[in-house]
Subunit: 141 residues, 2 copies
DNA sequence: CACCATGACTTGCAATTTGCAAGTGACAGG
DNA sequence: CCTGTCACTTGCAAATTGCAAGTCATGGTG
């Protein structure tokens, strides 16, 4: 078996939040879902995200999300075989989580941008986030 | 300085989702916020969650969340000094993210329970989650 | 045919981060 | 003095990340 991850095999508790985090609770999964929601389809497109996801991590996350039934992998051509990744209905429902994250980020982290899809649905809320004082702690030494 | 974490020092991109995940994008942070939202206040109360958070991880997450301005630590008594942790307004706004996660979990992961607060706000949606077939992959060998 | 190019990954490996167990420091009570 | 509680810290081994480089199938070009 691959040396990359075998974790998330069973739930930490029956709490809906904890169980959901068992699936997408890491720094990358939701970004992959974000990109798929925005129309990216292939491995190489997903690899080019602004956050520079490492290729082995992307392969691992796609595997996990596929296992969890959040996305679906399918070949769109043979010779040479090439794949497409797409969200399932289950995955598309993550859109609400993404939207909540965007709203929070736009409201509390100065200088952050919304997603294209989110922008359309966010319409009137919050101006272009005026770069200003961030109420974060002065950093403990 | 402590050997526990120094990461999350700068944003991976200006995307609101990515920036928010830089703060709460791990398996534990949102569970701590969940518990604070549900009324837990002290370190030892937080330590007793169903998911068994390791004590060093809890200490680290509280430090991070405090640095990020999501929670606030304050002494509620001297001699001996004892602390209370509470969400700031910024932290309370994470409630929407939690709610989205609960809704997704309840809808797509059989056998999961909602939070107390969420239950009140979730009222009519979805029955007590009828334990049934989970459309997850049959596990690649 | 030789050579370069894609697309989609895998492998190696060092640097972080987890997770578990045990230890510490400041008191309070008996 | 001994035991207990709260709030953490330390030590490590094990798991996960992140970076660079390699692989494999096939297609195109000269």
């Amino acid at each position: 078996m691959s040396p990359t991850t075998k974790a998330y095999e069973f739930a930490r508790s029956n709490c809906a939040v904890a169980s959901t985090l068992d699936i997408v609770g890491d720094k990358w999964s939701l970004l992959v879902i974000r990109d798929l929601l925005q129309g990216k389809k292939t491995y190489s497109e997903l690899l080019e995200c602004d956050e520079h996801i490492p290729t082995n991590i992307l392969a691992d996350r796609l595997r996990r999300l596929d296992d969890a039934g959040v996305i679906e992998k399918s070949a769109y051509q043979q010779r040479p075989v090439r794949f497409t990744y797409a969200l399932t209905a289950k995955g598309r429902d993550m859109g609400d989580v993404l939207l909540a994250l965007v709203r929070w980020g736009r409201k509390h982290i100065p200088g952050t941008q919304a997603l294209d899809i989110a922008t359309r649905r966010l319409s009137a809320s919050a101006p272009p986030t005026a770069r200003a004082r961030n109420p974060a702690k002065p950093r403990r030494e």
